[in-house]
Symmetry: C2
């Protein structure tokens, strides 16, 4: 999906909501667990219930890998379902935080983008910056595919290294400064946690036009208004993720209805905030 | 596998060789490609041919993920083969470079260590430090399992951030300083590229007893003698990885024989170097 297509989706749906499909067998409704592929059935119901409210879906791969081969089957079915049932209607993100030496990152790129090889075709993948340019660039050779580089994450451990400071520059700023030349606003985004919303002003000085993927609203305590205040651009420039608050809004047979209600509540707020730009 | 068991293996085999199972369908002998699971058959032959010469095997997960579900099946079969055919005879490393918020890293730990959940049981997993303590600690709750934290990698991109400097401390040193308190020498190792062997002296000042996993000998240009000179401890303290030089020593029907010859050449050199400690 191109940047313009993503912006069009945001305008059409009046939403910049990304739903995190962090699907945990221990948390989904019990009536699903006797089905052959409960994770896929859960995801399918969530997607069907929210496709007009969300512009992106983001499965975190850990929640699939923990079930091994069976988990990868559920993941593959989920992405295939979005791509075939709702083509062009949602931006898909592999939240994988991959990164390795160049030769190896090429294989990760195939895993996420090259359907004939892996059976999977996402629009974007999250990548970890620690190993530098050659660990990230192989992902950029796929037209209309994106990388989303970890800059400032939403967890407590973000303090450990991301704020490591050289003269006036903190590591997360150095990541932004260096990496932004590796691609462009057309194929790179950054992860910036909502729990550090006030940092978005500093970040926008370095990457004024890049889209930011913002986790941490909801369960982790971040505020949507703060994120918009400091991070929104004329093209919106934000994808705000919510996972647990939406997908586990209920664990009864009404889980999809309740997920839709919660997604709708966020979309309404987003519609109001977008209309100001 | 405990640290003492690993040291015993190194003494028994007079080797600290780790073989990287970066198995690429485009590079394995053509006579294997018509089999049902060529990647597993290739790995099995390499393992059978080298089990007395190598102390560790390290599949890089990218080379399996790029084939999607089928790749995960090959990976699962490979680790299961080692664990059941050669129990206690090899240390297995998931070269996965994972790391995410705590709740999510817990799922990655299940993926790598919890066989009833994922079908996989490695001894160790490589992790990326960028997201800090809570991204790493969940892996440490499994007894006798290890994390191997990226410190200084063997690729060109290592220069981009790992040398980012605050006063006298470079980021890779800060990673060592901070992270070594998260676990102990009994459950943590570090990745240090052989292409930066002279840095090993600086690294040994911070982590004198931790095992180091050293990639980059061979295809990437690192020297075994240099690594030993600066990195070896009284317990050896090194696992030196070689991938392409060994597993692709030949692409004919003699590939396993040639892999054994190449592994044997390294083991002889290692035997000589170990005997000095």
């Amino acid at each position: 999906m191109t940047r313009q297509e993503l912006i069009n989706l945001i305008r059409l749906k009046q939403s910049f909501l990304c739903i995190g499909l962090d699907t945990d067998l221990g948390k989904i409704p019990r009536h699903l667990t006797s089905l052959e592929d409960p994770i896929f059935e859960f995801n399918k119901a969530i997607i069907d219930a929210t496709i007009d409210l969300a512009v992106a879906y983001k499965p975190n791969l850990a929640f699939y890998e923990c079930y091994g081969v069976k988990g990868w089957e559920s993941l593959t079915r989920t992405i295939d379902y979005i791509n075939t049932t709702y083509p062009g209607q949602a931006f898909t993100i592999a939240d994988a935080k991959r990164g390795d030496i160049g030769n190896t990152s090429q294989q990760y790129a195939r895993a996420m983008f090259d359907k004939p090889s892996s059976g999977l075709e996402f629009d974007a993948v999250t990548v970890a910056p620690y190993m530098g340019e050659d660990s990230v660039k192989p992902f950029l050779s796929y037209p209309s595919k994106w990388i989303i580089v970890l800059a400032l994450t939403s967890n407590k451990g973000a303090e450990d290294f991301q704020f490591f400071k050289s003269l006036d520059t903190r590591l997360f700023e150095q990541v932004l400064i260096k990496s932004k030349s590796w691609g462009s606003e057309e194929n790179m985004m950054y992860v910036v946690g909502a729990t550090k919303a006030e940092m978005l002003a500093d970040i926008r000085k370095i990457v004024p036009d890049h889209f930011l993927l913002v986790p941490g609203v909801g369960a982790q305590g971040g505020s949507l208004q703060e994120v918009v205040k400091y991070g929104m651009t004329k093209d919106c420039g934000l994808l705000v993720n919510s996972s647990r608050n939406i997908i586990y809004a209920s664990n009864g047979t009404d889980f999809a209805i309740k997920a839709r209600e919660e997604a709708g509540r966020m979309q309404k707020e987003m519609h109001y905030l977008i209309s100001a730009i």
